[in-house]
Every structure is written in structure tokens, then in C-alpha cells.
């Protein structure tokens, strides 16, 4: 089994207006979480608050840590699923279901082995 990130991306030219009728979206997202749990692949899922709630910290060679308001990257991450799958193919099937349920683009990306394996 391998861990995968499914990152939900906000798109300015999205053909969907989720705010117009959000109830079916929440119902489908809840059902998708249940399906992931039933399949034994669910690790985590949650939507993020907006970019204006974001704070960035930068470590300096001096040891100082500099804080700045706002995101560090230009992307528009809206939320995420983390799943534990047997294969890339299986992960892609879940990514398709995420895109459909959330009416958004999603990026699928595998995690590296846990940090402790490098020690």
C-alpha cells in the first residue's frame, strides 16, 4: 500500500457554481468519504479555509523565522484527501471520483516513505 495526496484545486474558470446549490456537493463528498472508509483506503479529508487565512514562515540561515501573511505558492489549493492505495491505478480511480463529487480539478501525487525510513 502507498499513500497518495489528492489535492483539490480551485479554478477561476470553473464551469460549476457550488455556492448556487451546495447541498448535493456535501452529500456526494460525505458519501465519497464513506466509500473510501468502506474500501479501507481513507486516511484524511478536509476542506481548507481561504488563502486570506494563510500565513507563511521562512527559516533564515541566521536562525530567525520570518512570518508573512498570505500563501507562499500561487496555487489555489482548496482541500485534500489522503488515501492509502495498492496501486497508482486504484488511486486514479479514487481521484476521478473526487473530481466528480467536488466538481473540481484534483491533483494526485504519491507520498515518499515516512521520514523515519531515511534515518
Amino acid at each position: 500500500m502507498a499513500l497518495y495526496l489528492i489535492a483539490a484545486q480551485d479554478r477561476e474558470d470553473s464551469p460549476f457554481n457550488l455556492l448556487a446549490d451546495p447541498a448535493p456537493v456535501w452529500e456526494e463528498l460525505t458519501a465519497l468519504d464513506e466509500a473510501m472508509r468502506a474500501a479501507g483506503v481513507f486516511v484524511f479529508s478536509r476542506g481548507l479555509q481561504g488563502p486570506d487565512a494563510t500565513v507563511t514562515f521562512r527559516a533564515q540561515p541566521s536562525g530567525e523565522v520570518v512570518r508573512s501573511a498570505g500563501p507562499c505558492t500561487p496555487g489555489a489549493l482548496a482541500g485534500m484527501w489522503i488515501i492509502d492505495c495498492a496501486s497508482q491505478d486504484q488511486a486514479e480511480q479514487w481521484a476521478r471520483r473526487c473530481a466528480t463529487a467536488h466538481r473540481c480539478d484534483v491533483e494526485l501525487r504519491p507520498f515518499q516513505p515516512h521520514v523515519s525510513t531515511y534515518l
Partner: protein, 115 residues
């Protein structure tokens, strides 16, 4: 308690990760010690494979299309993440300051929505 996303931001062009075995060993040791010290606050943590391992899945006109490669091709991209549970933003910020020192690259903090 609120859950916060700590995004680890790598510059894959000018300062790629997993480049220097000695520096990387130091970083992994620092991150491992940081994780151990806050393990009751960690919901999840993991480092991602490089952006070229990403697959994009997007719905267009009712059809779901799958393409190789990341959503956005920029120099700086997420290289890993923590999901942290903290009492408030102030505690999250204190932890993020330690996280950026441990991993040696910028860390972006963003609260999750409540479900």
C-alpha cells in the same frame, strides 16, 4: 481544537530537495526529532514524491480527463505536509516556526474548515 495544514514549500528549480545526502540526513534528523516532540498533535505528515510524479484529474464538459504532470508548473511547489491539531492560530504559529527550522524551507500555515 482546529486542524491546520503546514505546507512545506520547496524550490524545485533552485534548491531541489534530496540533493545533498549529508544535508538531507541532518534535515531528516531534525524533522524526526520535531515530529517526536509533537507527536500527539500530528494528524498526518508525509513528504511527497517530486511534482513530475503528479497526475491531474479534471472534469470538462461532463468528461473526466486524466493527464500526467502537476496542476501548476511553478518553481516553488509543495514538497510535503503536516496536518496539525492546535488550540488556536497562536499555537499553530509556534509549531510552524519550529517546523520551518526543522525542514529548512518555508512552511505555509492554513486552517482547515470545520466539518
Amino acid at each position: 481544537m482546529t486542524q491546520y495544514l503546514f505546507s512545506v514549500i520547496h524550490d524545485y528549480v533552485n534548491n531541489p530537495p534530496i540533493a545533498d545526502p549529508v544535508k538531507d540526513a541532518d534535515m531528516f534528523a531534525r524533522v524526526g526529532a520535531f515530529n517526536e516532540s509533537i507527536k500527539d498533535k500530528i494528524v498526518f505528515m508525509g513528504g511527497l514524491h517530486s511534482p513530475d510524479s503528479a497526475t491531474l484529474v479534471a472534469e470538462h464538459d461532463g468528461e473526466v480527463l486524466v493527464t500526467d504532470g502537476p496542476y501548476a508548473q511553478t518553481n516553488t511547489m509543495v514538497g510535503g505536509l503536516w496536518v496539525i491539531e492546535a488550540a488556536d492560530l497562536s499555537e499553530a504559529i509556534d509549531l510552524a516556526k519550529r517546523a520551518t527550522v526543522a525542514c529548512g524551507v518555508p512552511v505555509e500555515v492554513r486552517p482547515f474548515q470545520r466539518v
